[in-house]
């Protein structure tokens, strides 16, 4: 792997670290499997690209992208909480609607950001080669966001959110407004994913209406890879294991695609990802079964 492609892998791995944190918030913290992210990733990219091309400051455009993602998340939460639509289905509905909305935002299937200013422009004067600058910038953003989310999950509000997903009845009995937590959690999660989309568009120079396909599986893969490596109760460790999981996943994919003797091409990526996620889900399951069998054997002797 060349240095150039290695740095590219790092950069995308870090950006998808944000997606992984978002997926962790819904799937693990709230126990709300949310597929909206396939749409909100594209939405983040679309809003940022469209607004930058319209002449808006890239930072303002990025904030708008985050807000757009958050609103998308809240629509899913609303469908689920207000009308009792199954969470998976509610998120698929939002995701499908977003496909059209994103096309409307962009006005055409893809937008190029080659000559436009981006969030990186103010730092170009530093004289660092853009190859490194992108990675450093993205790394700083991801680390700051990761620390903020870890802090948040340890606050009274954040802990209420965790209790909502872990034991809603208990949460309610302790005065936690669980619906409010689900709205906030989905908004936060999809806001982060939209931020990832906005950064992706600006570092890679384009937004495309199909770029979000499979975002959820990649995010989930990152969460699972991270979880299987670190078994900690500390929120900081868990959040950073999502980011590291995303990096490792990207590296693994990139190695697999670069190894000529295996003969994978980029079009095989979805199958590889699905297999990886399936494997990561199967291994802990088998381990649990083995443990239970062992415990039963010990219990039988006693």
């Amino acid at each position: 792997m060349s240095l150039f492609s290695f740095l590219g892998t790092l950069e995308i791995g870090l950006i998808f670290g944000l997606v992984a944190i978002g997926v962790y918030l819904t799937f693990r913290v709230l126990d709300f499997p949310d597929l909206t992210v396939d749409g909100s990733f594209t939405m983040g990219a679309a809003i940022a690209a469209a607004l930058i091309i319209a002449g808006l400051n890239p930072y303002v455009a990025t904030v708008c992208a985050v807000i757009g993602g958050a609103v998308a998340g809240m629509v899913t939460a609303w469908l689920n909480l207000r009308f009792n639509i199954l969470h998976l289905l509610a998120s698929i509905l939002t995701m499908t609607a977003l496909y059209t909305i994103n096309l409307r935002i962009m006005g055409k299937p893809n937008l190029a950001l080659i000559m436009e200013p981006t969030v990186l422009s103010p730092f170009e004067a530093l004289g660092i080669s853009s190859m490194y600058l992108k990675v450093i910038f993205v790394a700083v953003v991801v680390v700051l966001v990761g620390m903020a989310i870890a802090y948040f999950l340890n606050t009274q509000y954040g802990m209420g959110m965790r209790a909502t997903g872990a034991n809603a009845r208990m949460a309610q009995a302790n005065g936690i407004r669980i619906k409010q937590k689900i709205y906030a959690g989905l908004a936060l999660s999809n806001g982060l994913v939209a931020l990832a989309g906005a950064l992706f568009a600006q570092t890679n120079g384009f937004a495309d209406s199909t770029m979000g396909i499979g975002t959820i599986v990649v995010g989930l893969a990152a969460v699972i890879v991270g979880e299987s490596l670190f078994g900690s109760r500390s929120m900081l460790v868990i959040i950073f294991s999502c980011i590291i999981g995303s990096l490792l996943y990207r590296l693994a994919v990139s190695v697999a695609l670069n190894a000529d003797f295996i003969g994978f091409t980029t079009s095989d990526l979805n199958l590889i990802t699905a297999l990886l996620v399936a494997l990561a889900l199967i291994v802990p399951h088998i381990r649990r079964e083995q443990k239970a069998r062992k415990a039963a054997a010990v219990g039988g002797e006693a």
């Binding site: 309610q172 302790n174 109760r233």
Partner: protein
């Protein structure tokens, strides 16, 4: 003071499956009283408890916490005044969170959850002190995952958690029913200890007549959605399980044999 005024609860009103779970309950629980509630299955014990908690909305009648009319207030809106321990030891705590995190959640009951850290060293010290009283060695396991503890340990911690913030009433819903007899006795001992120390107002639903008479200051028996009798003071002291069974048969007045195994077994 908790006042129930002619509270009626009907499930599936107007349908073939209509069930009148509460048919007009009048009950006043003054502050500091420990009421035990008995009755056969379907008598309305749990419905009454859940109505006070706000999980179930009454079809008619009034519920007052002191002067505050809470009849239409949601369960979440009442939590400042209502503490609960559930029957299922797994229901009262979050299994995938640590002991101290669970206690921090209960410490925040009735307060607005802000963006300050939920835990700090002062709180940990408070939790450690509280856990010490259980004599289960849990004061050294603040950062243990709740799911790793036994049902009895979790229920004991649930009790501590319910008393971390003041409440107008503590609702115990057969909170020892899912435990083995030895652990149940321990949890009841801890219950009495906490209730006495904090001078709590308590309503405890139980299936055991023995438990209903041995603990608390007042016993009510429910039958078919009504309070059938109400024992307190000197009169209650002279009662034993047999008297209670007789009273139960007499009050029903239909000469029907007592056929609820659970009530007898619980005795």
């Amino acid at each position: 003071m908790i006042s129930c005024k002619d509270i009626k609860v009907t499930f599936n009103a107007g349908l073939a499956t209509e069930k009148r779970a509460l048919r007009g309950v009048d009950l006043e629980i003054p502050a500091g009283e420990f009421v035990t509630v008995i009755g056969s299955n379907g008598a309305g014990k749990s419905t009454l408890l859940n109505t006070i908690a706000g999980d179930i909305k009454s079809s008619s009648g009034k519920l007052l916490f002191d002067a505050w009319d809470v009849t239409k207030v949601s369960a979440a809106g009442r939590t400042r005044d209502v503490a609960r321990v559930f029957q299922d030891p797994l229901a009262g705590t979050c299994g995938n969170m640590t002991v101290e995190e669970n206690m921090a959640l209960a410490y925040g009951r009735g307060k607005r959850g802000g963006l300050l850290p939920a835990l700090n060293d002062d709180l940990r010290e408070l939790f450690r002190e509280q856990l010490k009283r259980l004599n289960l060695g849990l004061e050294n396991r603040l950062d243990a995952e709740m799911g790793l503890l036994s049902g009895g340990q979790r229920q004991s911690i649930s009790l501590l958690m319910s008393a971390l913030q003041p409440s107008k009433i503590l609702l115990l819903d057969e909170h020892t029913a899912a435990l083995d007899p030895k652990t149940a006795a321990l949890v009841m001992e801890i219950t009495d200890q906490i209730v006495e120390e904090k001078n709590l107002t308590v309503m405890m639903v139980t299936h055991s007549m023995r438990q209903a008479l041995d603990h608390g200051t007042r016993t009510i028996m429910m039958h078919e959605g009504k309070v059938m009798f109400d024992l307190k003071g000197e009169e209650r002291k002279n009662y034993d399980v047999k008297d209670l069974l007789n009273l139960f048969a007499k009050a029903r007045g239909d000469g029907e044999e007592l056929d609820d195994d659970k009530l007898l077994l619980g005795a």
